[in-house]
């Protein structure tokens, strides 16, 4: 059952992002992360928005998002639900609410994506998330914002 879910999530995300077989393996690697790393999170966010090519490396994705306002993060460090939400907001240029406009960052990015039901379940900005959960979030976001917002 779990294998089937894995295949469905990876396949859907791969198709949505538009990656080839090699990059699909990268997404499967992300799926298997118990604790999502910042580099992988940035890759998912930037690639799903078409900001970097599916073959881009994680440092390029982080650089691209840093140019849009993301704080400096190390590729290998474990990231949080809030940081990942912020990356998605920046990459897909999602306009947030009043407070995100005034104070853009992980806290109100999480609130925005939770309101839109893109982030479901527990929604603490500081909580860690698995690669599987990150891919599900990207899947829901793409169902609303399409491949390239």
């Amino acid at each position: 059952m779990r294998v089937r879910i894995t295949m469905v999530v990876v396949l859907c995300t791969s198709l949505a992002i538009g990656v080839g077989a090699q990059s699909a393996e990268r997404i499967e690697t992300v799926y298997e992360q118990e604790e999502l790393r910042a580099g992988s999170a940035a890759y998912l966010a930037a690639a799903s928005a078409g900001l970097v090519s599916p073959d881009a490396d994680e440092s390029e994705a982080l650089r691209t998002l840093a140019e849009r306002g993301l704080k400096e993060l190390d590729e290998a460090e474990v990231t949080s639900l809030g940081e990942f939400s912020h990356m998605l907001m920046l990459a897909h240029e999602i306009s947030g609410g009043v407070w995100y406009f005034l104070f853009p960052g992980p806290r109100y990015a999480t609130r925005e994506l939770a309101y839109r039901e893109i982030v479901q379940g527990e929604r603490y900005p500081g909580q860690q998330l698995s690669g599987e959960r990150a891919l599900r979030i990207v899947g829901r976001l793409l169902s609303i914002f399409g491949e390239e917002a």
Binding site: G97, Y115, G126, Q127, I144
Partner: protein, 424 residues
């Protein structure tokens, strides 16, 4: 700021005993929270937390009401300790202060609770959920009790069945924040400026839900026992027991239905004279979702709440559920049927826009009757209404409602309500 308003925090002539009880309860809960979170932390649990609040402004008026204004600032905080294997301990605190047009402030503690969640406690696909403190207690029929109270519930969900038991007390709620009104003593207390606390009722409830039966139907069955904890001197006491049954689920396609019925057995005691009787309440709803037509929904619903008409006595819930009508507040001695249509006019414009996807308009019409159809004039009028909910951003919205009620041989009644909300 009156003594009544701030009596919870600073103390108080008539409520000193209850105040001590309240403080003791708060201390116990606070201690449990600290022990729980510290214990969780020392066991290597992951700790997460968040906080926020809401500022809302509400204005309502009508042909038979003065202008009522209220500003409400609510704050909330939540902390969770993950205890491994998906188990968690969550602490929630919610409270706020309301200010009316006379600048009278009313602080209140809405929620102060610990929740213990253990998935898989009784096998695969089972969940054990226990909650204690000041919590929202809702019996599943919605006809009898849905209120904040101090107590605990334990919920066990197994594949194919969910069982819940719980108990709670309403006498530590501030009177301004309590809608538990069942007796003449409760009504008298509402007019007593020195009365700080809400009506003291002890409630015990138990229910079973059978989800996903044949055809996707869910069945619920439950009972609730309510004990009036007022002193038995000159005041009226009302003890009640309830049994309720509900069924809901899909009928065909996107047409859903929901039916609820509750029977009550009540005993009213004044000066050691006790009257007893059976009350009846029932509700039914049909809802048709029309996603392709401006994301709209058509709802037809009806309600019956018995009055003092043979063979029944007036149905007295522990707290009255909202009728959803602007001109009818109490669900007793009442029958109504209503048609409601709501739609989201901008939903086709943009899937990405919070405003387009969440702004809603609605209209409704209801026929209102007394419960005694043998009476000369059971018909009590028609209410026609409209409402709009504007969601400008995810954290800022506004809503407005207006209702017009025509009544036989009486003036037409009009009520309106406007509300704005900013979350942070």
């Amino acid at each position: 700021m009156t003594q009544r308003s701030f009596g919870l925090l600073f103390s108080i002539e008539n409520g000193a005993g209850s105040g001590r009880r309240c403080r003791r309860l708060v201390s116990v809960v606070a201690l449990a929270v600290v022990l729980g979170l510290v214990g969780g932390g020392s066991l290597g649990a992951q700790l997460d937390g968040d906080f926020g609040g809401t500022l809302s402004l509400d204005a309502q008026t009508g042909t038979e009401d003065d202008l009522g204004l209220q500003a409400l600032l609510s704050l909330w905080g939540r902390g969770r300790a993950s205890l491994g294997a998906e188990s968690s301990l969550t602490f929630t605190a919610e409270g706020g202060v309301g200010v009316d047009q006379e600048l009278e402030a009313t602080p209140d503690l809405d929620i102060l609770a610990l929740q213990f969640l253990v998935p898989g406690a009784f096998g695969a696909r089972s969940v054990l959920e226990a909650e204690a403190g000041r919590i929202q207690v809702r019996e599943p029929s919605g006809l009898v009790f849905n209120h904040r109270a101090d107590g605990a519930t334990v919920d066990v969900s197994l594949p194919g069945v969910s069982v819940r038991v719980g108990g709670a007390f309403t006498g530590l709620l501030l009177q301004d924040g309590s809608s538990v009104v069942m007796s003449s003593a409760d009504i008298a207390a509402l007019d007593d400026e020195d009365e700080l606390w809400g009506a003291p009722r002890l409630v015990a409830l138990s229910d079973i839900t059978l989800p996903d039966l044949a055809g996707g139907q869910s069945v619920l069955l439950g009972g609730l026992f309510q004990l009036d904890m007022r002193d038995n001197d000159d005041t009226e006491r009302v003890d009640t027991r309830y049994g309720y049954l509900g069924i809901d689920g899909p009928i065909v396609g996107s047409l859903y239905w929901d039916g609820r019925v509750a029977l009550s057995w009540e005993e009213r005691t004044v000066d050691q004279d006790t009257d007893s009787g059976i009350g009846l309440a029932a509700s039914a709803e049909l809802e048709l979702f029309l996603e392709q037509v401006l994301n709209s929904a058509l709802t037809v619903d009806g309600y019956f709440g018995s009055g003092d008409v043979d063979p029944f006595v007036g149905f007295t819930p522990v707290n009255p559920r909202s009728t959803g009508l602007l001109t009818v507040q109490r669900p007793e001695d009442l029958v109504f049927g209503r048609v409601n249509y709501r739609f989201r006019p901008f939903s086709p414009l943009s899937q990405e826009s919070v405003f387009a996807q969440n702004t809603e308009l609605g209209v409704y019409g209801a026929g209102i009757f007394g419960s005694d159809f043998a009476a000369d004039e059971p018909f009590q009028g028609i209410e026609l209404g409209a409402r709009t909910g504007l969601r400008l951003t995810s954290d800022f919205g506004a809503a407005a409602r207006i209702g017009v009620r025509t009544r036989p041989e009486q003036d037409t009644q009009v009520r309106g309500q406007v509300q704005g909300t900013l979350s942070f």
